[in-house]
């Protein structure tokens, strides 16, 4: 295909994708449970953002399992700011994300002094610390009972037009989530495909070599960590104003529990770490599958774990690169079929 042809097909598929995303709530509209499905779509958008942030940090070769903890920070901070201080939800969401980024900046320097598995341990434990702190500081956060603020929703006023992003039909909130997540993903995408993105890749591939040609490893790692945590905070804020009830309980059903970090890891790996669209594919596919498999919800972690292991073994580049596996698998299959019965040796 010629270069312009490729650009055209890219633009066309992008437009179709965008149109489908924007039209989805109206397609679902005739369904009796349309509000519920829109709610699921919003959650998918939020998880896509969280997973993409995790992937952005992983571009430098470090795996952060603190996603759930940073989502909790962003969610609680924006919820408390708007419900207790009385700031407008828009500003509260922004401040919540900034607060998350600030905490991330605070811990980033010491954390990046260690690498590999030790960095994973640090971020994992940090997530637990946030969870327990949210339960412990009960004067501020409402403790284990959780924190509810059903009366507050973001409201947009343009001239005489007023849009309230309430949970009645979820459609308004869906558009809000899509726009916010879209902007965040766009920024992440641009960063990854800029010079900075190449530097991250060089850090992941050969950090000492990168350092020897003058890359400041620490500065780059801290930068991407803070940016990614900002977006994780945004995801937490979006979640808070959608669900209106936050809790620090340590049950797997709680979105701020460590399990969410594991699920993000899962979406990222299954979708494909190498591709920017991996988290989109992974999160969308698996959260939809999970809804579809609602009657089997007890078995769901089993299915997820099994799929994760299978993907690690057979599709190490994830679903996003499925086209690369077809020749590999077919040649394997052919070899298998060609194999002589036992007794004869292969050359």
């Amino acid at each position: 295909m010629s270069r312009s042809g490729r650009t055209w097909s890219k633009a066309l598929s992008g437009t179709v994708f965008l149109a489908v995303v924007l039209a989805l709530p109206w397609i679902l509209r005739p369904l009796k449970s349309s509000a519920y499905w829109t709610h699921i779509l919003i959650l998918i958008a939020i998880m896509i953002l969280a997973t993409s942030s995790m992937r952005a940090i992983f571009r430098t070769g470090e795996l952060s399992l603190g996603t759930a903890g940073f989502m909790l920070l962003g969610g609680y901070c924006s919820a408390l700011l708007s419900a207790k201080v009385g700031i407008s939800p828009w500003l509260a969401m922004l401040l919540g994300a900034i607060f998350t980024a600030a905490i991330a900046a605070l811990v980033a320097y010491p954390f990046f002094r260690v690498k590999g598995v030790y960095f994973v341990i640090c971020t994992l434990l940090l997530g637990f610390i946030f969870l327990y702190l949210a339960g412990y500081l009960d004067k501020l956060t409402g403790g284990w009972q959780g924190f509810q603020f059903y009366h507050i929703s973001p409201v947009l006023k343009i001239g005489s037009l007023t849009i309230a992003f309430t949970t009645k039909t979820n459609i308004e909130y869906y558009y809000l989530a899509v726009v916010v997540v879209g902007i965040c993903l766009f920024i992440l995408h641009r960063m990854e495909h800029s010079r900075v993105g190449l530097v991250w890749k060089s850090i992941r591939e050969a950090d000492q070599l990168a350092q020897s040609v003058g890359v400041n490893l620490m500065a780059h790692k801290i930068f991407i960590f803070v940016v990614a945590c900002f977006f994780t905070g945004v995801a937490g804020g979006l979640y808070a104003f959608h669900v209106h009830a936050l809790s620090p309980t340590s049950t797997p059903a709680n979105v701020f529990h460590f399990f969410t970090s594991v699920y993000c890891l899962l979406y990222m790996v299954i979708g494909g770490v190498e591709s920017f669209y991996g988290p989109l594919i992974g999160a969308t596919l698996f959260m939809l599958l999970r809804e579809w498999a609602r009657p089997l919800s007890e078995y769901w972690p089993l299915v997820m774990g099994g799929i994760l292991i299978l993907v690690v073994f057979f599709m190490p580049k994830g679903l996003a690169a499925f086209r690369e596996y077809i020749p590999e698998w077919s040649s394997k299959l052919r070899r298998l079929l060609r194999q002589r019965p036992t007794g004869t040796t292969q050359p």
Partner: protein, 286 residues
């Protein structure tokens, strides 16, 4: 709050440290020899506890025999995990993380589905308690710490005095160097998984006789295991023992003074501080 309470808390913490040590030893051995963090180690601990529950409460086997059988079977499970799951993955760090996390999800769900819901507890290893000058120590906790220390002693003797133990130590210190002396790293990995899993199973049995059993109990145990090996020093047996005892005592004292929440939070902060400022811990080398 009297001095008696403090002594009581210290003694309770010391005994809790026993179960933590057993989890931490496996983690630290696996980390040393295979250079991976076994994310499913907490689930192995849980599996050990549930095996004892199955054998002892449901099938009526003698408790101590059940603990022994659980140790063996869980060790075999560890062996199988190494052979089937971890050995073929000669790859990147992410694939190990994914494989072991996937395994932990699978084990949790399998146990959740295999057993009926409701509170489960293992029978007490030794009923009643000792009284020393107004301080009570339940006998099962004494058993817990004694068993933990005995098993650690056995492990140390194995590592220092036997051919295979020395080979394992060599492999942990320098994999390539050991390979050149004819030590097969895969055999060492299999052995370390079997031993670590067996120890975790005993830890699960001891923990299960003090707390309730539930399929998610492994997460907390895993966290304690990480905490103590980081405090004690990665790869050090002595460090794991001392770290476990310190963690147990610190936890119960902090819980006494600041409430049980702080008893969980402060050790976690401590671990992060240790990892950053003193990555080799109290007894680690390098």
């Amino acid at each position: 709050m009297s001095g008696q309470d403090v002594v009581q808390a210290i003694l309770n913490g010391l005994c809790m440290g026993g179960t933590y040590i057993l989890v931490g030893l496996g983690l630290t051995l696996i980390l040393g020899v295979m250079n991976i963090l076994q994310f499913a180690h907490g689930e192995i601990y849980m599996l050990g506890a549930f095996t004892v529950y199955f054998l002892c409460v449901l099938k009526g086997l003698n408790l101590y025999l059940a603990v022994f059988v659980s140790m063996i079977t869980t060790g075999v499970v560890g062996l199988i995990i190494e052979r089937v799951l971890l050995r073929p993955l000669k790859g990147a760090f992410l694939s190990y993380v994914c494989a072991t996390t996937g395994l932990s999800l699978i084990l949790q769900t399998l146990v959740l589905l295999a057993f009926t819901k409701g509170t489960k507890q293992l029978p007490s290893l030794w009923k009643g308690s000792f009284e020393l000058g107004g301080v009570y120590i339940s006998r099962e906790r004494v058993i817990a710490i004694t068993m933990a220390l005995l098993l650690t002693l056995a492990l140390v003797i194995f590592l220092r005095r036997t051919k295979y133990g020395l080979a394992m130590t060599a492999s942990a210190q320098n994999r390539e160097g050991a390979l050149m002396q004819g030590i097969n790293p895969y055999v060492m990995s299999a052995m370390v998984m079997a031993i670590g899993s067996g120890l975790a199973a005993v830890g699960g049995a001891l923990g299960g006789s003090i707390f309730n059993l539930d399929p998610y109990m492994g997460g907390l145990a895993f966290m304690k295991g990480i905490t103590l090996i980081v405090i004690g020093g990665l790869g050090s047996i002595l460090g794991a023992v001392v770290g476990g005892l310190i963690l147990g005592i610190a936890e119960s004292l902090l819980a006494l003074f600041f409430g049980s929440q702080m008893g969980i939070i402060i050790p976690l902060v401590l671990v992060i501080a240790f990892l950053i400022f003193r990555p080799r811990g109290l007894f680690g080398h390098e």
